[in-house]
């Protein structure tokens, strides 16, 4: 395997062929922000928070999907990039409804953390915030489209890890929604195994476990995949 050396923010680092800039940065303790990125599932370069400058090129590249090359000179942090990241984070807040105080993910929300990380203190623009549906048809979980930032971690984890491919995307532009099966209520899905992986990877409060108080404050206190047992018991497995 070929090993490349490159610079990230002036630091000399090394990585192997095929690795992304994001991977190499993570290995070396350099934090590049990202919301659609999640180790273990494939990257799609869609949230654009991880954009970096490469070798003085005017074009920005998403660190999660750009493979490293020998001698690359990556700038991952500067004033201009911070401004862009702040603007993109602001867009995610304004697109739908992200009122933290009444959100099930309050204090354990990656979007909330991101706003702190990029220094987003107020909004310059008016919110778009359409009133969207909340799907509570599933026995254990709920889907609140108003909190979804379309990172599609749920789509990918369901497809690539669980292998069920319950989730996919419908419509386009601002109308884009995640959908179960071919657009049925989640509870009517014939493919969902109720494994709960999508709920675990959701960065915001779009996918949530029913019956948990808004102020629970954390999501990491339960054992690994507890719902699978519930599901199996229900079906007499």
């Amino acid at each position: 395997m070929t090993v490349y050396t490159l610079k990230i923010d002036g630091r000399d680092v090394a990585g192997s062929e095929g690795q992304s800039i994001m991977d190499v940065a993570e290995e070396n303790g350099i934090d590049i922000p990202g919301l659609c990125h999640l180790p273990g599932i494939h990257d799609r370069g869609a949230c654009r928070l991880c954009v970096v400058k490469i070798g003085g090129s005017p074009r920005l590249a998403a660190a999660c999907v750009t493979r490293i090359a020998e001698g690359m000179d990556v700038v991952a942090h500067d004033e201009e990039l911070s401004e862009y990241r702040r603007a993109a984070t602001e867009m995610m807040f304004l697109e739908r409804n992200h009122v933290c105080a009444v959100c099930v993910a309050n204090n354990h929300c990656e979007l909330q953390d991101m706003s702190a990380e990029v220094g987003l203190t107020h909004f310059e623009l008016p919110p778009i915030s359409p009133a969207l549906d909340v799907d509570l048809s599933h026995k254990l979980f709920g889907l609140d489209h108003n909190r979804c930032i379309l990172c599609l971690r749920c789509v990918r984890v369901c497809d690539e890890i669980e292998g069920a491919h319950v989730w996919d995307v419908m419509h386009r532009g601002l109308e884009t929604r995640i959908q179960a099966d071919m657009g049925v209520p989640w509870g009517d899905s014939t493919t969902c195994t109720s494994c709960g992986k999508c709920v675990q990877v959701c960065p915001t409060g779009a996918l949530f476990e029913k019956g948990r108080p808004v102020a629970s404050g954390t999501r990491d206190e339960r054992p690994f995949l507890p719902w699978l047992r519930v599901h199996q018991e229900e079906r007499g497995l």
């Binding site: 949230c47 993109a88 532009g173």
Partner: protein
Amino acid sequence: MSEQPAAARPVRRRAAVAAPTGETRASAYVCEAASCMSAQAHDITVKLAEQCAAAGLTDVNVKRVGCLGLCAAGPLVEIPETGELFAQVRPDDLGALVKALKHVKPGAQPKPQGPFFEKQLRVATENMGRVDPESLDDYIGRGGYDALQHVLAEMTSTEVREQISQSGLRGRGGAGYPTALKWTTVAKAEGKQKYVICNADEGDPGAFMDRSVLESDPFRILEGMAIAAFAVHASEGYIYCRAEYPLAVARLRTAIRLAQRAGFLGANIADTSFSFDIQIRLGAGAFVCGEETALIQSVEGKRGTPRPRPPYPAVEGLFGCPTLINNVETFANVPAILRKGAGWYASIGFGKSKGTKVFALAGRIVNTGIVEVPMGTTLREIIFDIGGGIIDGRPFKAVQTGGPSGGCIPAEFLDSPVSYETLIELGSFMGSGGMIVMDDTSCMVDVARYFQDFCRDESCGKCVPCRVGTTQLWMLLDRICRGQADMIDLANLERLAKVVQKMSLCGLGQGAPNPIFSTLRYFRDEYLAHIVDKRCPAGVCEIAQPTEVPA
């Protein structure tokens, strides 16, 4: 994806061709491209043939042809022997036409047809309005397939690429990437299976060049693609055509079938070891599928969303294989270059932009239609000499080129030559060739809002800056148009436009702010009039006047 348009397949009709039994003395070329077809052009063909037969004109050839170019005056019928062009012909009033056909003398010389035709130079569209688009014989009669046969018999793939390189041909889809460089990348990329794709997903508002070429001369695209496939060692090709072009699709299907039957497509083309076949894929109405990586996803049967590049399709494209994607017009230039020589093609043009460019003239212009001019022709020549100027003689205000990623060019730059470089210098973009002409009845803020609305609607929703940013930009422009904005909104507009341009994943989002940048550059006073004076200089925007508050 939006819903499939209700584009009914056109009723298959046999061309009513009154072919003369002996020598042809006179011909009538009836334009049967989409624009004239929508005005009963096919009825004209049928009735004209009947009436010629009734009048005993056995030496008259009534033929359907592709686009005659002057779409504004359709339906059109041309008598090529005299050069007479009959405009706005009605199927129930063909007397003058029959009379004119009666009086055509053998050996007549075509008369000049005015600046619309004479200032043009037709290369990619040389057969447009000359051949029956569903007749292979007609195409071959005009030199069709000479280039392919010559290439297969006497050239190596390297020599073909060398010719394209010398011709200086650049991608006609808009970006102007050197065609030969792309071909060489695909040819040298590793992989046994390679593909050639023709991008016919023309979607810019006001652009209809590709449609005209496909409807008028479909064999040319097949020949261009076959030559490209030979040059890059591909064996399979796809034409990705939007479903809103049912006539183009029908003619392509016919052309593919006829070419397969004649051995110009399929296994062992022209009795050589070279094999290449083409399939059609229909686009379901998503503008973003004109972006090459989204197009590839769509051909693969997936949701048509772009993916970050690199890797470029030339290295990792359709089904992960090296893939050549060129625009319709690029392929249409290829047979002419190989038939007439790279030197000939390179001698036409301006600076680094060689050859000709097809433009679709639309908007407030007299001669709406398809034109092809050498690169370097000035905007003034295109709009005023060829285009006939502005409707009702109103003052020219701006011309919009490059579609939703392009910009508006004001009157002071009318004498700029058209080339990839000059248009970018002017803050616009060559684009696929749509030219929308505007007069003083257009409000430039409203124009920017229109294009932003288009981008907002067509954003695929994958990346945040485009999905949310285009809507935010549209909301700001809407506020300005309504007279509700202040200077902070203008500052936000400029800031946000920069973010959308820099952060977006694909060309749609990166280009979406261009109409805003160019209108701000040339028409900032109009923005200020809306914001400060609360009035629309062109009188387009409805601005609610503030009611006076009694002191």
